[in-house]
Structures are given as C-alpha cells and as structure tokens.
Point group: D5
C-alpha cells in the first residue's frame, strides 16, 4: 500500500557541525536500510530545496508512522503524507 | 531526467456523457502508450480525489510540455510540475 | 486502519430538485450501509457548512478510494483524506 | 456536544530533555484522565506529524476552553477547534 | 454559549430579481425573529462586502446548525463558525 | 463607530515569568478601563487559542490606533482590524 | 478619516456589451462625483489588472459602506477595506 | 526598465472554436510585434500550464498597463506584475 | 511614476532599546527627507499594526529599490511593491 | 533548457558582520562565474526585497540542483524552481 510523502528539512543553524554530519549520516543509513527492505521504494530530491518527494510501501498507517517518526532527522522535518491508490490507467498494476 | 507532476481533473458536468467517456478512454490510451514508451514511469491515484501524482522521465522541458499539453484531458486539468534530481541517499541511483 | 476524511458538498444549483432529492437519498442509504458494515465508524456535520468530518476504517487505500469514489455525491464533492495512526495516549487502543 | 480539535505540537528544541520528558508524561496522564471521564472520546495521531485530530464531548464552550488551556503542552501547541453537529445520516445518533 | 459567525453572501446573478427580493426579505424577517428571541444578539455589516460578522447565543451546536441551515440565503452563503468562551478580562461576565 | 478586532498573543517563552505576569495584569487592567469607558464593548476568548475577537467603539481610526498600540501586550500581538457598518437587519440599530 | 480600499472588477463576460459600456460609464461618473466632493481623494490602476487601489476620506464606516455599496459595479466587485491612521512620520499631517 | 509578468490564460470553453483560434492568432501577432519592438524581450511557457513568465522593458508603468490591457487575450487572463531592478551581481548590467 | 508599497516592521525584541530608538529616529528622518523631496508623497499607518501603506513617486525601478533598501529599518522589514498606473477615472490626472 | 528560479535570502541577523560580508562576496563571485559560463543567463533584483528572479540554462535537473545547492548563501535561502519551455510566440526561438 503506497503513500506519498513530502519531507522538508530544516536543521537548526546553531547545531554543532559534527553533530549535524553525524545526524545526516545516520539519516542516510536509516533511509537506505528501508529502501533495501522495500519499504521506501522511491526518493527524489526536489531541485533547489532541502526536501524530497518519497513513496513508501507499508502494511498499515501505524507502520508508516513508526518508520517516519524513527527518522533521525524527524525532529527537524516538516512531513506531509498523502495516501495513494492504484490508478486505473497504471500498466504496472494491471 | 525526472519531473514530479500533480494533475487535478475537472471535466465540466454539462459535457455530453458519451463525449466524456470517449475523452476518458482516449486519455487512458494516451497515458498507457507513454508508460510503455518509458516516458511516464509512475502514476498513482490520490485517494478520494479525481487527481494523480505522476513521475515523467524526459529528455527536456520542451518534451515534457509537449507530452502534457497533448493529454486529451489537458483542457480540463490543473497541472503542477516540480523538477526532481537524484537524491544522495537513493540506492537505485548509485 | 483509520483515515480522517473531510467532505465538502456543492450540488450545482441548476440540478432538477427531484434529481437532487433522489441523489441525497441515495447518498444517505450508501452512507448508512457503510456505517452498518463498520467501514465508516464516525460522521459529524461541520456546523454551518454543507460538509462533514468522517473517519473510515478500511483494509487498504485501494478499498478507501473505491468506497469514496462510489459515493453518489462524489462528482459534487471536494474530499481531503488524512491517514491516522494509533495515538500513544489513546486508552481505547492499549 | 462534540468539537473537532486539531493540535500541532512544537516543543522548543532548547528545552532540557528531562523537562521535556516530564512534560510529555504529564500530558499523557492529563489526556487519559479526560478520556476516562468521557470528555475526550477520540484521539488519533496524524501520520508523519507531531499532531493529532481529537474529538471532545463537553457541556459548553467555556468547559472546552478550560480543558484545552489546561493541557500541559498548551503553551507549545497550535490548536484549531471546529464545532460539530449531529449528521442526518449518522446511524449512531438516530 | 456564544459562537462567532462570518457569513459571505453570493446570490447567483441569473436569479430572477423578484425572487431575489423575496429571498432577501425572508432572510431579514428570519434574522430579526432570531434577534428578538435572543438567539442572534449581534450582527454587523463588513464594510464594502456583502458579508456580516455575527454572534449567536445557543444551547448547543445542534441548535446552532439548525438555525444557520434554516437561513433563507443558506444555499448562497459561505459560513464559518468559531466557538467563543468567556474572556478572563470581560467585565460584563464577572 | 464599530471595528472588529482579532488579537493573537505570543509572549516570548524566554520572558521572565514575573515580568510576564506583570504584563498580563497590566493588559487586563487596561482592557477593563477601556471596557468601562465604553470604548471596548465586546471581548470574547477564541476557544483553544491565546486569542480574542473584540469590538471597539471609537470616534476615529486615529483613536482606534492609539488605543490598540497602547495595549501592554501590543509588542507581542498580531492584530487584524475590520471596519463594521450598521447591518440593515439589525433590530438594535433601527 | 482615511480608508484604503482595493477593488477587483469581474464583469460577467455574458453581459450585453451595450449594458456593459453603460455600466462602466455610470461607474466613472459616480467615481468622479465622489472625487470632486473630496470623498475619494486617490484612485490608482493596479498595472496589468482590472483593479484599483483607492483612498476614501469619510466621516464614518456607515458612510463608507453607503458609498461603496452604491458603486454601479458593486455587484461585480470584490472589495477589501483597510482602516488607516495618521503616520507619525507624515509631514503633511504635522 | 524591467517588469516581470506572469500571465495565466483561461479562455471560456463555450467560446466558438473559430473565434478562439482567431483570438489566439491575434495574440501571437500582437506579442511578436512587441517583441520585435524590444518591449517584450522574454517570454517562456510554464511547463504543463497555459501560462507564461515574461519580462517587459518599458519607459513607464502607464506604458506597461497600456501594453498589457491591449492584449487580445487580456479579458481571459489573470496577470501579476513584479517590478525588477538591476541586480548588483548582474554582469550584463555592469 | 507611482508605486504602492506595503511595509511591515518587525524589530527583533532582543535589540538594545537605545539602538532601537536611534534606529526609529533615523527612519523617521529618512522618510521625511524623501517626503520633502517629493519622492514619498503618501504614508499611512495601518490601524492596529506596525505597518504602513505608502505611495512612492520615482523615475525608475532602480531608483525605487535604492530608496527602499536605504531605509534604516530595511533589514527588519517585509516590503511588497505594486506598480500603479493612471486610472482612467482619476480627475486629478486628466 | 531553461528554469525559472526565485531566491529569497534571509541571513541570520546574529551572523558576524565580517562573515556576512565575506559570504555575500563569495556569492557574487560564484554567481558571476556561472553567468560568464552561460549557465545563469538572467538575474534581476525584486524591487524592495532581498530576493531575485533568475533564469538558469542547464543540461539536466541534476546539474541545476548541483549549481543551486553550491550557492554560498544556499543555507540562508528559500528557493523555488519552475521549469520553462519554449513559448510558441517567442521570436528568438523560431
């Protein structure tokens, strides 16, 4: 079951640069584990912004909230989720 | 090169139902041809709305505008395009 | 799995009053069948507006879109869906 | 008498983590007491956000404001209240 | 119990002028009856707009929705309701 | 001459609690003096928010700005003013 | 006493061109009479739009609403009024 | 002197197709004459929309309004103008 | 050539009061010099807000940007500029 | 391939003035190098704002994101990108 997610990141500028780098590295690792597990099939950078459009594939809304609130950058993100359904014209789904 | 596209459809209610059905059928055919050609790799229905989130894969912005303005439902759509770049965490791209 | 739904209704004023009444009656019957089936556990009128806040309980986003797009008033509605998860403070869920 | 409430929480990042934990624990206790008293019949997490949709059941708008402004997290919340009425299609209410 | 109400009126220009006048006259009568009954204690015109700010005094949200949806101009209005509580500085309330 | 005023208060959290209490007490005193003088005939709390809807009765826009900018909490408020006229249906005004 | 007014005009395209011309001519005459009477001291076209920014000088909000609602184009306008006060730096006012 | 202009076109669908084509042809001719005269140095299509971003080079705001309101499609356009100044980093201007 | 300017001021509360007073005094002096020079013919306070509506009369957009960015309070202002043209009904201009 | 970019700059006021000047100087140098390389053909100041409208000419969205995220002021900017296509009336393109 797919969900469309927009994430906008705003790390406070006063954060210690080393902490920041460590946070961003953990975020990348976390994201790639979920991608490998098939939970996060798509992630694209929005050009010119510290933001991404992603698609998640989960069993339930509870699972999705657990995955999103576990993001290392979660406290510094604005997240907006839109539920997706199969499109009747989608050749991959038929 | 990827572009994120949101399309909201509003077919005028006064349109003749047969014309409407014919228009929707042509839209589906057009969409599936572009999907098979690899130009329109993703399309999802937004739950509860006559709208979709799509991803296009094109060579140029001119090509993208040609594809979008050629949609049979184009005169009845509100379209918003967002350019996408490769995300540094994307395992598929690295 | 719960979803929060806001529905705003705008029946075209030029619709024949008998058709309008028949449409509204079908909407009510459809809604009550889904309520009895446990799919639509909550529906509230928003005071002063021809609109409601509802909660749906479904197995998947595809099921939700099927239920919503099957509403007799669907062509005259603006619908916005928000996915819900269990709240950690909810005594009913723990 | 029902009211729909959206609460968005933004605890200042500079708050001492122990104070933060204590605040969140007090919020949970307060919320569960109101749930047990029947004043706060529904609370759902909005997926991906530090926010909830709730429904309150109160005798008056004064009572509702007293309950909301007494939330331990009230100084860190943006709250929006919408009054609800019985929906004519609601099978539970008829 | 007080509620703040903003009403914006948009009567369709194609409405027959006699019907329009009759509708506006009925609206005035309905409003003045509720004012006399103490249900609608305040009504002000918003300068330059076909709109008003009003305050209603009702026993319940159900009563308020009944009063508002009974307005002769209801089908041509956009209404927004905000619940009010006693202000701690209000000398009239203490 | 009436004006509708919405005030949203946001006292900086870092303000010393004693200064805050003293400020809020001065605000209350100032407000009640204007109420007694007939300049501020209505004030209501917006439920769930640190905000109010008020109605002022003044001789001129200059007088209104003087009253509002003299509020002890003025530096911490967002204020929006809407001019009001007599409503043709208002029984109190005719 | 000054008020800032923004007027956006949208004459329905289906209006008979002769009626339209007559309406626009009456609007111009009405505006110029108020300008000559000192009630409407400033009017500017917003570049590229069928809209204007104006300043009115009136005795009361009731007078202002009477003047605005008497505009021949009033039924086809969206009007927004902002009350103005003397600016402390204004050399003309001191 | 440069001005940034966004134009969104919405030709009413009920317009006779021949009139529509004639209108669009006149618009193109008008635009190209202004381009050749150096008044309209840039015009770009916004991808996926019946809209453009343009830059005009004029002597005055009066001249700009005359050019824009003379567009054959002006009655069917929403136009927004932003004044531009020389940027301190612009190598073409220094 | 006229331009309509809205300025919203937000001086950081942590600024030293003496610096603040000095800044506001310089702003007033700067504004009055431009008023005397005929560059800033109108300035009005927006009632209830630390904001003004102004009209500037300049030779070019470059001149306008130079004047605005030279305001002592410029770093603490949000400014929005709208270009104005002569209105066809303006008696002062004909 | 052209992209329209709006950049709004907000350098934190607490930044050391020397660091600020150095940052702005690096931004200017970076911008002028891209202008000379033909990648950034247009840049205009938005009058009254610390913002610009720019046009970029790039081979791909990845290249555009690399250029924009390399801006020395990138961490202090809000950037919005709109893809552009050739306009059918553009005389320069035909």
């Amino acid at each position: 079951m797919y969900f469309h997610v927009r994430m906008d990141v705003a790390i406070p500028p006063e954060l210690d640069p080393r902490q920041r780098d460590e946070l961003v590295a953990r975020e990348k690792k976390y994201s790639q584990e979920l991608q490998r597990a098939g939970k996060w099939p798509h992630i694209w950078r929005i050009v010119g912004e510290y933001a991404n459009f992603s698609v998640f594939d989960v069993e339930s809304t509870d699972e999705l909230h657990t995955l999103l609130s576990g993001l290392p950058l979660f406290p510094h993100m604005k997240i907006h989720v839109t539920p997706l359904a199969t499109h009747p014209s989608d050749i991959a789904a038929h």
